[in-house]
């Protein structure tokens, strides 16, 4: 292996893999290092919903841009990536939540997205197993679902075709300010630039990255072909996902290409413990029964947890880490890392190569968290 690269990427989750594919396709020599296997971080334990969200303008811009890139890639993805454009239904439990349906409809369609308001009857026609008393929902058509670790693997394979070197089981001990990485054995590999794509572990190398872990539980069911047609999320999710403090659960269910269903989700801020907590899991499952009573007859076969790499302003860090131009960071995507991966990689590669970007990169600039700048966020 050579000892110098244009770009060294630390972390081979969906973010590192996307950066590798983009940088290698742009003609840069790339080395990717991960301490574990490919996609062995939260990329391997999450849901894989490629979804447009509009909590803020910057979030909308990045999710939309990135989803477009996924759509363009869709036909090239291998079968194992299990890509399906199933759409999302945001479910409204009552009339109050229907107002949010109308607001979202206006905001999405005004921005050129395809959406449709469903009343109670239309909702049950689209998803016959939903509870009969729900008010309605919003169908967003271009959202899709993917199997993230297989997508990460594919992206790394593409980068490899363009000359990238990918090494798993290679733990980086230090990212050095001159743009190099050090290993515990004393070896140092130099690059023109280093990208920190370590997800929840990014703060280990970057003091500036205020990334916190947000724990989530998931459950997967046996195969039930045809039971579920869309990814369904309760609109109450907005209330619970935004509650900064405290534990919360919300109904979120995803159809897998295999016929299985992935059931979520929970959010906990102050937990470092990866074990499944039964009081949270049971709250989450009961929530699912409330929205989809027929799930009582479906077996769950596995449960697990994952940690979202979260920031306080719900936007990722994409850009330079410090002023040297040697160290860059792409991390902190919380519950949208799969969705935002391809867009993140394009923006970061644009910045590294001094190319213009398609969307404004400023809202994601890590310097917003630098000392003295925190008032702005």
């Amino acid at each position: 292996m050579r000892q110098s690269y244009d770009v060294i990427i630390v972390g081979a989750g969906i973010i590192g893999a996307s950066c590798a594919a983009e940088c290698a396709a742009s003609g840069l020599s790339v080395l990717v290092l991960d301490k574990g296997p490919i996609g062995g971080g939260v990329t391997g334990t999450c849901m894989g919903h490629i979804v447009i969200l509009d909590d803020s303008e910057a979030q909308f811009a990045l999710t939309r841009y990135s989803q477009r890139l996924w759509n363009e890639l869709a036909t090239k993805l291998p079968e194992q990536a299990e890509y399906v454009r199933c759409g999302t239904i945001w479910v409204a439990a009552d009339q109050e939540e229907m107002q949010e349906v109308h607001r979202k409809y206006k905001s999405y369609t005004e921005n050129g997205l395809e959406a449709e308001i469903l009343d109670n009857k239309a909702l049950l026609k689209a998803e016959p197993h939903l509870a009969a008393d729900l008010a309605g929902g919003l169908l967003v058509k271009q959202d899709s679902v993917i199997y993230p670790p297989a997508a990460a693997y594919y992206l790394l394979k593409q980068s490899h075709k363009n000359g990238a070197v990918v090494r798993s089981a290679s733990e980086v001990k230090a990212i050095l300010p001159e743009g190099a990485v050090g290993f515990s054995c004393g070896t140092i590999i130099t690059g023109s630039v280093v990208i920190n794509a370590c997800g929840c572990q990014a703060p280990e190398f970057s003091k500036m990255a205020p990334i916190k872990k947000r724990k989530g539980h998931l459950a997967i069911t046996e195969r039930r072909d045809g039971f579920l047609n869309h990814q369904i999320i309760e609109l109450g999710y907005l209330k619970s996902a935004h509650a900064a403090a405290g534990d919360s659960v919300a109904f979120n269910i995803q159809p897998r290409k295999t016929g299985q269903m992935l059931v979520g989700s929970s959010r906990q801020n102050d937990s470092d413990d990866p074990s499944v907590q039964h009081h949270i899991l049971s709250k989450m499952i009961k929530r699912a029964f409330k929205y989809m009573p027929d799930l009582r007859d479906v077996q769950v076969t596995r449960t697990w947890t994952g940690f979202r790499p979260a920031t306080d302003d719900k936007l990722p860090l994409i850009g330079p880490d410090g002023d040297s131009g040697k160290i860059w960071i792409a991390a902190g995507h919380e519950g949208l890392g799969i969705t935002c991966a391809l867009g993140t990689a394009k923006l970061l590669c644009d910045m590294i190569m001094n190319r213009p970007s398609e969307i404004d990169t400023k809202p994601y600039c890590p310097s917003r968290f630098a000392k003295g700048n925190t008032e702005d966020v």
């Binding site: 046996e222 195969r223 299985q260 076969t301 596995r302």
Partner: protein, 82 residues
Amino acid sequence: MSDNVQITINGKTASVTPLTVVATALACEGVTRFRRSVTGEPRTPLCGMGVCFECRVTINGQPNSRSCQVLCEDGMEIVTDE
């Protein structure tokens, strides 16, 4: 000791001692493919304690039953994904 229990495995009758676990009965009768994975690969029991879900078969018409968690009963019909 009471009489043996009569079960059928994929339509063939078998006789096992009372309190035999279904997974054990299947293994004794030479079943090597309890179910198939999503990609069609054969699966057999792994944990033996109800956690891994690899041992699923159809018991008395109920699909996806964990055979390591059920005792054989007289007249029980077991179908595997042979």
